[in-house]
Amino acid sequence: MKPRIAIFSLTGCEGCSLAILELEDQLLDLLGAVEIVNFREGMTEKDWNIDIGFVDGAVSTSEDEKEVRHFRDKCRILVAIGSCAALGGINTLKHYQGAAGEAEPPVAGNGDVAEYRRYVYGERAEWFPTTKARPISDVVKVDYALPGCPMVKEEFLSFVTSLLAGRTFTLPDFAVCVECKKRGNLCLYEKGIICLGPVTRAGCNAICPTFGSKCEGCRGIVSKEAVAAAGVNLREQYNVSLKDVLDDFRLFGAWQEADLP
């Protein structure tokens, strides 16, 4: 029996769903190996018998919250794809705009939720409800998470293949530097750039450093120990602005602030 697969989207750019369609070389095989029964909400009820549900996007409104609970009910295995679903993602940047907004942002910023709604929508701001942006694991139990902004499509494929082959799927538990070194890159620290590679979970094949750009930490921190070491090193070994590094980290790291030293 082919596994029945569904792909859902919450608040995000849907790049992760799109990434599946960008597996051009494998798409036909994939369609042969699994049955896609729901490539978004909006199908009739009888198609809600789902083995594996993939969700991209963060929970950012109360509507999202309702939906993700519904997905959880209907899917045997629920997989968060992409940084939004797995870590809250870029959406969590809005937390830093609010002081004591309704959503109680993890770190106080210089405004509040109502204020940034006003900024975008003017007087009619109250038409646009929003809550704190959260990874879906904050609302429901998630069986697997494939972080990355966007999700690494090769990892998605290897996830599906592992499940089909009966291999245990685990995310790499080492830092981006491992893959960066395997690709033979010049380490960005040699150019004086503070790269988040040493504290970030690998699996992206170090694509950012390979293309000359520092790792932005989109796959989440690799371990608390690494972040603790970063704290020591930035203070003792490097003469950098901690605020800048924190800003780097917050691009994707809001939901992991608690792990900062």
């Binding site: 082959a165 009966g166 291999r167 245990t168």
Partner: protein
């Protein structure tokens, strides 16, 4: 400057030329599952034979790398004796990727085997000696090969004591063998469990408690073999050393993470030794100073 003229070691193809024809160390051979016997909730016994009819020719204490192609590979001790050569047996506990899949297999399925690998027990050195064997938990698996060997070659050995400890009665491995061995005069078997169940009639306590019933050992005449979890190992060694057994007569078997099984991948390194090729069987004397091995 005269010493400068030595040539690059590998330029002239060495005797076993590493060309496209040299076979890879990493290729498993297909072996068929002849029989599967459930032993406990977690362990199953697999009897295997190579598809091409060849024999494994193992030493007791050696291991094989078992492949589920597409899933992975893991090291498993051979638990049958070379004196029963037509097939071989593996006792496998389900704990992860490969072992879970192995447990789903049926008789007649094929798996991949590389081996025998590693350094087993030196049975020649044991000839003529009294044997004291202490097994803890899954440690019984590699020892069964040696036990069978001793029983099959019984006249070559002196007294044979076998102490076996498990956490619970239901975790005892090879219950049929145990029954047979308990009846046999060839082996002096004692079993204990940490946590008895209502049906348990035997001894209760950690395996070291069995030492008090042991008759006096002759230190120079006795070979001691210890295989079990690291915690057990330490306490048992204390008991054994207290009985003045020379360190060169104490054998043990180590477990480490392993990937290649042939001394390359580095995973099983404990201090300077590679468990896969220098072991898994070591003499206690070899481990002294190897802090990682005994700590």
């Amino acid at each position: 400057m005269s010493g400068r003229r030595s040539s690059t070691i590998l330029h002239e193809p060495p005797p076993r030329a590493s060309s496209a024809h040299e076979s890879s160390l990493y290729i498993p051979q297909p072996a068929r599952i002849i029989r599967i016997t459930p032993l406990t909730e977690m362990e199953k016994l697999f009897e295997l034979g190579f598809l091409d009819g060849s024999r494994l020719n193992q030493q007791p204490g050696q291991f094989v790398q078992v492949s589920m192609l597409g899933v992975g590979e893991c090291p498993i001790s051979i638990c049958s004796s070379p004196t029963r050569p037509d097939t071989f047996e593996l006792c496998i506990r389900r704990v992860g990727s490969v072992t879970n899949r192995l447990h789903e297999l049926q008789e007649k399925d094929t798996i991949g085997i590389r081996g025998p690998l590693g350094h087993g027990f030196d049975t020649h050195e044991m000839h003529g000696k009294d044997i004291l064997m202490i097994a803890g938990g899954l440690g019984m698996a590699p020892l069964r090969s040696l036990i069978q060997y001793i029983l099959d070659e019984r006249p070559r050995f002196g007294q044979f004591h076998l102490l076996y400890g498990a956490r619970e009665p239901k975790e005892l491995l090879f219950k049929d063998d145990l029954l047979r061995w308990r009846e046999s005069k060839d082996v002096n078997l004692a079993i204990t469990v940490d946590r008895p169940d209502p049906q348990w009639r035997g001894k209760v306590g950690v395996v070291t408690t069995l030492f008090k019933d042991l008759s006096k050992l002759n230190p120079d005449q006795t070979v001691v073999v210890i295989v079990g979890p690291p915690v057990m190992f330490k306490f048992v060694v204390i008991e054994v050393l207290a009985r003045r057994i020379p360190q060169g007569n104490i054998y043990c078997s180590l477990e480490r993470r392993m990937k290649c099984g042939v001394g390359k991948c580095g995973h099983c390194q404990a201090n300077h030794v590679y468990v896969c090729i220098d072991g898994p069987v070591f003499k206690y004397g070899q481990l002294k100073g190897m802090r990682e091995a005994v700590e």
